[in-house]
Symmetry: none
Subunit: 295 residues, 2 copies
DNA sequence: ATTTAAATGAAATAAAACTTTCAAGTGAAA
DNA sequence: TTTCACTTGAAAGTTTTATTTCATTTAAAT
């Protein structure tokens, strides 16, 4: 039999030889791993109604020097196997590094998406949608690797006949673009990783003019997010060599979905109008199928 | 503004009024929640290189009696929001068919990705990567809703110092762009749903000049895909009201990954060069951490 | 029933984790 | 430049946590 050395298996291996009270301790730990990692020996003793001395002996029977060492072991196990971040890291690292294995890449994208679910908060999403619908003009900023995100959202929102402008400029040109923005407008900015000069300029101008800012970021550092009116947190994860844009795109989809939902019939109307125009002037339907509604 | 009383928001609210060392504590806690919940004040003090006394003061400034109380609060937040079980529970609690239910949207994206795995074929992916690396110039076409895809791939490939140009034009302008393309180049085109006039023009010119075309599409209709040298099939699925770009982005990632893999050290070199430049001329690193490699 | 070895908890002891004090350092206002 | 309020770390002091000792209980073997 393979000797397993994590604390769970350590307990299992010794279990049969343990006396009554210590079995009680083992049972509780196994069943309440995620509580025990936060308990002191005193509190654990109270919860279990087993003396502290016996708990120390239990730890020593398992091969530890004392209780703190046992707890360290439990925490290690907990963090290695039971924590969301670690589990995701593991599942990504576990994949062999074959750059042509599409399944692998997709698997890691899926892990990212799954972990993203818990970092996005419904309230912020609703406020984001409201802000977009309320705004006179929406200016969407995204530079470099984020231009595609800005472009994506701009294109989709424009299809709902919202007044949306994509701004992918930096340096001095940024100032020119910012001149015409006023407080009934909304700025959407995609900004990851850390602050840039442009970002700080943008935030300062927005603050000055009283313009709301919807920030989509993976940063949770106060200096970055403090000035934004709404923050949507897009965890891009510890993806090995490069950061995937899958999660931000999913957030865009959520926004688009929300806007479509709030617009209701109006959204459908805008789209069918578009389809009419396409049919008339541009698209050729050589596949002999009628044009179908698509946002 | 609604008073948020969890420890994360407590920190955010007080953040601006905190002195230097205490900001450092706040930053660390926010970024390393799942470590801090397991640290004693002594170890935290060592990690942060901030005295224990200051950590106690930080806790008191946040309204706690002392450090143990702060930690209890952090643990509560951690267990409420960051633990796998709780996260799951929270995402399930949401209502069905709710446009603000991010979990649901993500779930459908995941389904799309899963089904995409089976439609992409490894051989085509490898040929695509080879074609990109072999090409003199790469011209990437994507209009309308696909512009973001073209942009995404262009940006990433450019970072490897490949000669890549994004072409998001239509109508007569398209012809001008096509004039300078020759048979050592590669055309990449994102084209979904059905053929357009522009698409057919592009394919005809490519055929005329003997230029290879990598087509990324969800169509399997012969007229569309017949003329392309390589086809990557991106199933966007029967997604309700609109088509998600998550799958095409994942395909982009696969291509980027493949190119990076083939380039090997050269890719790393190009990236670190970029980071050097950034460090020197553009980025401000207010978090006092060095810029890390990122594609 | 008696013996004996093992297990246990109460209490004493030791070791940490945590808090307070105080003197020195910092930086903004006078 | 000086003042003053504020921040900080070192070190002393306090509280909590963990360990050991020891007397008692338990239970298996005789």
């Amino acid at each position: 039999m393979i000797r397993q050395s994590d604390s769970y298996n350590k307990i299992l291996q010794k279990y049969d030889d343990l006396p009554k009270q210590q079995k009680k301790i083992a049972d509780y730990i196994i069943q309440h791993f995620d509580e025990v990692v936060f308990l002191s020996i005193t509190r654990l003793s109270n919860v279990l109604e087993v003396s502290e001395a016996t708990i120390v002996r239990f730890a020593q029977n398992l091969g530890h020097k004392g209780f703190p060492e046992l707890k360290k072991d439990l925490v290690k196990y907990y963090r290695d196997y039971l924590t969301p971040g670690e589990r995701m890291k593991r599942s990504i690292e576990a994949l062999p590094d074959d750059p042509f294995n599409f399944a692998q890449i997709v698997e890691s994208e899926i892990q990212l998406l799954k972990s993203a679910v818990s970092t996005i908060d419904r309230g912020s999403l609703m406020r984001a949608v409201d802000a977009i619908l309320k705004a006179n003009n929406v200016y969407i900023f995204g530079n470099g690797g984020n231009e595609c995100l800005a472009n994506h959202l701009t294109f989709r929102l424009a299809r709902f006949k919202l007044k949306v402008v994509q701004q992918s400029v930096s340096g001095k040109n940024l100032f020119e673009k910012l001149l015409s923005i006023n407080k009934d407008d909304l700025i959407i900015d995609y900004h990851f990783y850390k602050s840039t000069i442009d970002f700080r300029r943008l935030m300062n101008v927005a603050e000055d003019k009283g313009v709301s800012v919807l920030l989509i970021t993976d940063s949770i550092l106060p200096p970055l997010i403090k000035k934004a009116s709404i923050v949507l947190h897009a965890e891009r994860g510890p993806a090995g060599r490069f950061h995937s844009q899958v999660v931000p795109i999913a957030i865009n989809n959520a926004i688009i979905n929300g806007v479509a939902g709030k617009l209701g019939d109006k959204a459908v109307l805008a789209l069918s109008e578009l389809n009419q125009m396409r049919k008339k002037f541009y698209y050729i339907d050589f596949a002999d199928k009628s044009v179908q509604g698509e946002i």
